[in-house]
């Protein structure tokens, strides 16, 4: 590492923030692009599991809320890709890398949505897990990313309220409705526990070293458990982990998540990975002519 890079590292590690036009080490820029691009991809791919339920929303209010939520996610991906674009990678290239399988997206978006219970559990618990990671990005050393995270976190907090309301309504409903929620929690628990990644020591995590992230994986998972397990229990739901408990020192103990599953899923081998990429590929191919018309107009 050169002296200039070393002083940059010290700067970000002491809480300093960087703007798009500032000098930055190539390694930092590459890590930023990788991290932020995956976030953009995740917002965009996160649309697909929920969009299947937009047509099936059972009341006008739920339809409006779900459409607005999914629209927010697309809006987030647009904002995030702009940040990546400023760092030197155009949106079209991000989308190409996404559909070719070269770039990754978050594990939870590789799974199927099977019932209306999933709609509640995704908006409540998946978004809760996501907002924990995203709130930690408010302190990201790259200032443009930290700034858009304010808007994103604000919107995500509404999604959680929407999800909780869907879940609460179902839990106060018929036995069959309560079963929908429990069955969804049972299916989503594994992916949720894998969501924040393996418990790598934060000083060994390059994303933390550069202060792109401001907390370690295990810290985020503990925060999720502490915030949501009590709420899950309070609603009369169970968590499918007999070893889950909070110790006297305040630390949650749990069965080791399946890290092999996580690795396999995020490399494109999840139950819905290829279907969803195919859908995005087809949509992109069939609308290529529209983008050409728009580009020709802009030229």
């Amino acid at each position: 590492m050169t002296e200039r890079e070393q002083s940059f590292l010290e700067y970000v590690q002491s809480g300093g923030q960087v703007e798009a036009t500032d000098w930055m080490p190539d390694d930092y820029r590459a890590k930023l692009i990788k991290f932020i691009e995956m976030h953009g991809n995740s917002e965009l791919m996160g649309v697909l599991p929920e969009r299947e339920w937009i047509l099936r929303a059972p009341t006008l209010q739920r339809k409006l809320a779900l459409t607005a939520k999914v629209q927010d996610e697309v809006g987030h991906s647009q904002l995030i890709y702009r940040v990546v674009e400023d760092l030197g990678k155009p949106r079209e290239q991000c989308l190409d890398d996404l559909i070719s399988g070269k770039a990754k997206f978050h594990n939870v978006f590789h799974y199927p949505t099977k019932t209306w219970g999933d709609v509640g559990v995704i908006a409540w618990l998946v978004d809760a897990a996501a907002i924990i990671s995203q709130k930690a990005l408010l302190k990201c050393s790259y200032a443009p990313y930290a700034r858009i995270m304010k808007k994103i976190c604000w919107e995500e907090s509404f999604h959680i309220l929407h999800g909780r309301d869907v879940v609460l309504t179902l839990m106060n409903g018929t036995d069959a409705q309560r079963e929908l929620v429990q069955e969804a929690v049972d299916r989503w628990w594994g992916p949720l526990m894998q969501f924040h990644g393996n418990p790598i020591a934060k000083d060994e995590d390059p994303m933390y070293v550069w202060r792109i992230k401001s907390q370690g994986n295990e810290e985020a998972r503990q925060q999720f458990l502490d915030g949501y397990v009590p709420q899950i229990w309070e609603l009369g739901l169970t968590v499918p982990d007999a070893d889950l408990r909070k110790n006297d020192d305040g630390v949650w103990e749990y069965t080791e998540p399946d890290w092999d599953e996580l690795r396999s899923v995020v490399t494109g081998h999840g139950p819905k990975s290829q279907d969803r990429l195919d859908l995005r590929r087809k949509a992109r191919e069939s609308s290529a002519w529209v983008r050409q018309v728009v580009l020709a107009e802009a030229a």
Binding site: L44, V47, L48, R51, W53, I54, L55, R56, A57, P58, T59, L60, R62, K63, L64, T67, A68, V70, Q71, V74, G75, S77, Q78, Y81, R91, W116, T169, L170, N172, G173, T174, A176, Q177, L279, R280, A283, S286, S287, V290, R291, V293, V294, E297
Partner: protein
């Protein structure tokens, strides 16, 4: 509100509901992220309009907006075939958007003259949002007007504007099955 007024409000509400449902199918897969966001907004507006219109009618008929929107049989809907079609081709979506917004503007203009202050007020409120849909439709019309596939789509869909409301396409029944599937899975009156 007399019977004929209630009937025409239901026609508009059903159009907006079904078109809103159709437009929402673009969420996540539109040609540009900006259009994803735009079409999703338009869908939300249309469904919001449908809800407000259903509420007016429901108040008169002692029912609810949700019951009017979901709990009728497909053949009882009063929408036009233009809005029923599943059109996941951009040129056809834009052609429908353009044709529908023009026809809708004329209809709203009439409704704004209604003697019923509630109806006239709601029509004016709806029209304020539709003005943005018309700008959006016009922008895309200008972009695509020389594209043969777009002019063909306009020619194909235009006759549906006058096709009447008594007969429906099979696509409405298919949409109805999907849009009521969760709701029908539990006894009537269950909260969601």
């Amino acid at each position: 509100m007399n019977e004929s007024e209630a009937r025409s409000l239901l026609e508009i509400a059903d159009d907006e509901l079904i078109l809103g449902w159709r437009d929402s199918e673009w969420t996540g897969i539109a040609p540009l992220l900006e259009e994803d966001v735009a079409f999703s907004s338009i869908a939300q507006n249309e469904i919001g309009h449908a809800r407000a219109l259903y509420e007016l009618v429901a108040g008169e008929q002692g029912t609810t907006a949700d019951e009017l929107a979901f709990d009728r049989a497909p053949e009882e809907y009063r929408c036009t075939r233009l809005v029923e079609l599943r059109l996941l081709d951009w040129e056809k979506t834009i052609a429908r958007h353009y044709l529908y917004e023009q026809a809708d503007a004329a209809r709203l203009e009439q409704l704004k003259q209604s003697d019923d202050a509630e109806i006239a007020g709601l029509a004016a409120k709806i029209d304020r949002e539709e003005a943005y849909h018309r700008m959006h439709a016009q922008m895309w019309f200008d972009r695509l007007k020389d594209e043969p596939r777009f002019t063909a789509a306009l020619d194909e869909l235009r006759p549906l504007l006058d096709a009447g409301r008594d007969e429906h396409s099979p696509e409405l029944a298919e949409l109805w099955v999907e849009m009521t599937m969760v709701r029908r899975s539990q006894p009537a009156g269950t909260a969601w």
